[in-house]
Symmetry: C2
Subunit: 557 residues, 2 copies
């Protein structure tokens, strides 16, 4: 056992949260003794970038741990440039809160060491969930969390050893890996998830279905409603057993989510939340005033639902780390509740969401309204304009904004970010309508999609211009297809009983519509049918709705 | 003179504001008589798209007046699809407010007509400013406002008649046209402006200088501080006379701004503001409760300065038109004060701004602080990451956000839009730090540029980590260049008295720095020098600043 050195601040974990806390504390407390301890060998690498290394978009793994000015972020860099001492390959095994000591063991030599602290920062991160009963004892079966995981997968791809991959879990990482394996390397990918749709924590089903259809068009094989049962590997192959069928693959990645590494905190009696994350207040202090925690190991509060959640994002980890560093240096900085903004790029499709999904909004007790819309991301005459599709979740009583989900090949993320800013201020539909986008044809239509969505929502609430969800069944309704004849070929409706009355003829031909039957108006984006709905209601048609987002959002059957 | 017909609602002007008001009123008041009168022949075209038609990015001019579903927005379209009567080629010459009548004249036949109204909407737009004494009586000299202007310019380009173009005015339109003429058609462009920099209403000088340098690299010839004096044209050429020199060109476009068409309103005694725009309240009502006005002909209030301004943007015109239509139909909708978000794409550079510029913020009485920053728009390891550059204007006392300006080949506009959302809520630096961006490596770095800018601002105010503006002179200061040796070649500093101490060596070598001289730290983006500033201040260096935004924002000399 080495001698007991007095260290003012000890940080456990040398990734985003921990190093940011340490670096910030160093700036505020130039004379403090600061020690960062990490059990791994690589530190300060961009875990979020690993799928792009696996895919080959990033050539060298060092890119993920290089500063913008070309230095590798290793122990020497932090010592010389940041004035921080970092010890790697060392596991903190136990915390003695009364004595303010941490007890460590070298992962290489097994040697024990102990350090005293005045203040302790826990940034222990999270680890992949492994389904019960699964033993990861075969090289062909892996999780995806460490740089070592990424290096090993990339090597197998490069040497052509992987022709078919099974990915268990259709969340963000699972989907990113599906692209990584198939886009550049051409591996065949089977993606399975027990949920009814992929990206279950990000998108509501009707939105996720469209992303699924797109991934399928990119040759990803997707099996949803497909609970994983077991996995077995041999030297040559892997068998994934599910409730549906068995899949034979060359290798399998388990990506069913992560779990906070809160055992160290729990072991010394710190409060742990129901989510399994370390409980912290808005100054990022744990239940012990001398111990702070940040990053993937903590739980945070959702601004809208009020619930505690885990939100393992590098962006939050950085912000939380800085707050701890400032507060260690005598500051009074706070981490507010989150709205949970998320984004993922899959092939050429941009997907993003913020706030509550429809079900979580209902669970939180809101009087939930939902509307959908298809738009161009720029002026529709601008050559690079692309369609984007959104779902807006709001409270019908108050008009409060609750959530936004979007996908498409155009600029989706910008709108989600703007919406996130409004959510933070408890914005309402009228704030969306008051929003001022920097407008020029290459960036937005004159009427921005977010503004148009707010109009759609208000029309639904105030004037009962009611959309049906894009994945609705409406067999009992007579369909009025309001598209022009030349539009019908590109996306024909499979249903029968269709009355085709183009939008521009509705004022002449409305009397052809049967008065005594339930109706649904359909067009390409939902705009023309919503407008006609108002006209037809004036003419006395009462049981009439339209297809939200139009044919362009209708999932393929 | 035709007979007097009773019309409930008359709208003067069939562009964004007027048609939107009419269409919305039609939906709310299905039985109203609504007449839209316009003096031109083309209606409802996207004026903002005209530069892209001139450039050839858009092939047919009809693209600018086609619905997304392929119908030309002409008189027949508005009649059939929208239930609106539109009369073109008819000028409203006079309004009799007591009698509630408008007196019109046909532009084609000279025939007079008169219509009675219950409610009148003025959407008369704006027209190009022509410098005093200039007669536009030559085909080679033109302004750029109507579709006819665009068609004629495009024709001249296509037939190769234009080899060299003079553009008078370096505002948004002037700069867009500079690209339009040179990018595809290869015309030589001379851009002149009396102001010290281009985009004078959008960017502060040090920001505009960088855009100028970029335009020059794209072969646009720029003359600022170059007041226009006169222009003369012959059948073969045009001479532009300026205080500097004379320019001989094949044709000239005058783009020195627009002026509200408020003469009709003024003629009937409606209140006109100092800006020349029609005065309206937040329901878009003029000083006559039966007359509304919207679009480029009105003045609006700036949320931060409280001043009245003209802001001729299609996005605002649409919003204002809808508000009038709703209010005509019994609604109670309001148009709030504006923050003035603007964007323009020039070649591959994105430029955007919102809120107040530095001088306008000072004029408005704020205790103005400014900071600059260079960032990557995505994770720096992501293959398509690009540099973007920002200037943040804020109030030093309260931390209130006042304005943001940005340029670069990466995603600038998203950040300006998010900032605009925060401005609308009178956001502060801490709101910027609390902002939650949808983070994934293809969309943002884990620490978003806006968050980093807020940190830079707080460090400047709270810790006196003081940046100099990128275009500052600092001859009297010793320069500490903190870049690594291999970075110096790409952007060498022309100055003498440079001490090169790379960032990662500063903790070892700081004693080499002269203690008794004023100092400036410089690096590529400002990050390393700001961080070193803090360290050096601890070591007792007091007269020390750093170059905001780093070498990457320093305008070429």
């Amino acid at each position: 056992m080495t001698e007991d050195r007095t260290i003012s601040i000890i940080v456990v974990g040398a990734s985003a949260a921990g190093l940011r806390a340490a670096a910030r504390a160093r700036r505020r407390l130039p004379d403090a003794k600061i020690l960062v301890i990490d059990q791994g060998s690589f530190i300060s690498y961009a875990g979020c970038g690993m799928p792009y290394f696996v895919s080959g978009d990033i050539q060298s793994v060092d890119k993920l741990r290089t500063t913008p000015y070309g230095l590798i972020r290793d122990v020497a860099f932090f010592r010389e440039a940041k004035g921080l001492e970092v010890v790697t390959g060392t596991k903190v095994e136990r915390i003695d809160r009364d004595a303010r000591k941490v007890y460590c063991k070298s992962m290489r030599t097994g040697e024990a060491s102990v350090y005293s602290y005045d203040k302790l920062v826990l940034a222990t991160g999270a680890r992949p969930i492994v389904p019960p009963g699964v033993l990861i004892d075969n090289k062909r079966i892996t999780t995806f969390r460490s740089l070592e995981d990424a290096i090993s997968l990339r090597k197998s791809l490069e040497t052509g050893k992987i022709e078919k991959v099974g990915i268990i879990g259709g969340g963000l990482i699972g989907c990113e890996l599906a692209e990584a394996f198939s886009a550049l390397w051409g591996a065949k990918v089977v993606l399975i998830d027990a949920a009814p749709n992929i990206l279950p924590g990000v998108l509501d089903p009707e939105m996720a279905l469209a992303v699924e259809a797109y991934l399928k068009s990119e040759k990803v094989e997707i099996h949803t409603n497909c609970p994983f049962e077991d996995i077995t590997g041999s030297a040559e192959a892997v068998t994934i057993k599910t409730a549906q069928t068995n899949f034979e693959v060359d290798c399998a990645v388990i990506a069913v989510g992560v779990r906070p590494n809160s055992e160290l905190a729990a072991g010394c009696g710190l409060a742990i939340g129901k989510t399994g994350g370390v409980v912290v207040d808005d100054k990022m202090t744990t239940s012990d005033p001398n111990i702070f925690a940040a990053g993937d190991c903590v739980e945070v509060r959702h601004l809208i639902s009020g619930k505690s959640i885990n939100l393992p994002l590098g962006s939050l980890a950085n912000r939380q780390g800085r707050i701890i560093g400032s507060n260690l240096g005598g500051g009074d900085e706070r981490f507010g509740p989150v709205v949970g903004s998320t984004a993922v790029k899959l092939f050429d499709m941009n997907i993003a969401a913020t706030g509550l999904m429809e079900t979580s909004a209902r669970d939180a007790g809101f009087n939930v309204g939902c509307v959908w819309g298809t738009f161009t991301d720029r002026a529709d005459y601008y050559p690079e304009a692309q369609n984007i599709h959104f779902k807006l979740v709001f409270d019908k009583q108050s008009g409060r904004l609750l959530g936004l989900q979007g996908y498409g090949k155009g600029e989706v993320v910008k709108r989600v970010d703007v919406f996130s800013a409004l959510l933070k201020n408890e914005g309402k539909l009228e704030d969306l309508m008051d929003m001022e986008f920097a407008y020029a044809p290459p960036y937005a239509p004159a009427v921005d999609p977010l503004y148009a969505l707010a109009c759609i929502a208000r029309n639904a609430v105030l004037e009962e211009i009611q959309p049906l969800a894009p994945d609705s069944w409406y067999d009992e309704r007579v369909i009025i297809d309001m598209r022009r004849p030349d539009e019908l070929k590109s996306a024909p409706l499979p249903e029968k009983d269709i009355l085709n009355i183009p939008f521009e003829e509705i004022r002449r031909k409305w009397e052809e519509i049967p008065k005594d039957k339930p109706l649904i108006c359909i067009c390409s984006k939902g705009v023309r049918s919503a407008e006609s709905l108002r006209f037809l209601k004036e003419k006395g048609f009462s049981d009439i709705v339209y297809l939200g987002g139009g044919c362009f959002m209708k999932p393929a059957i």
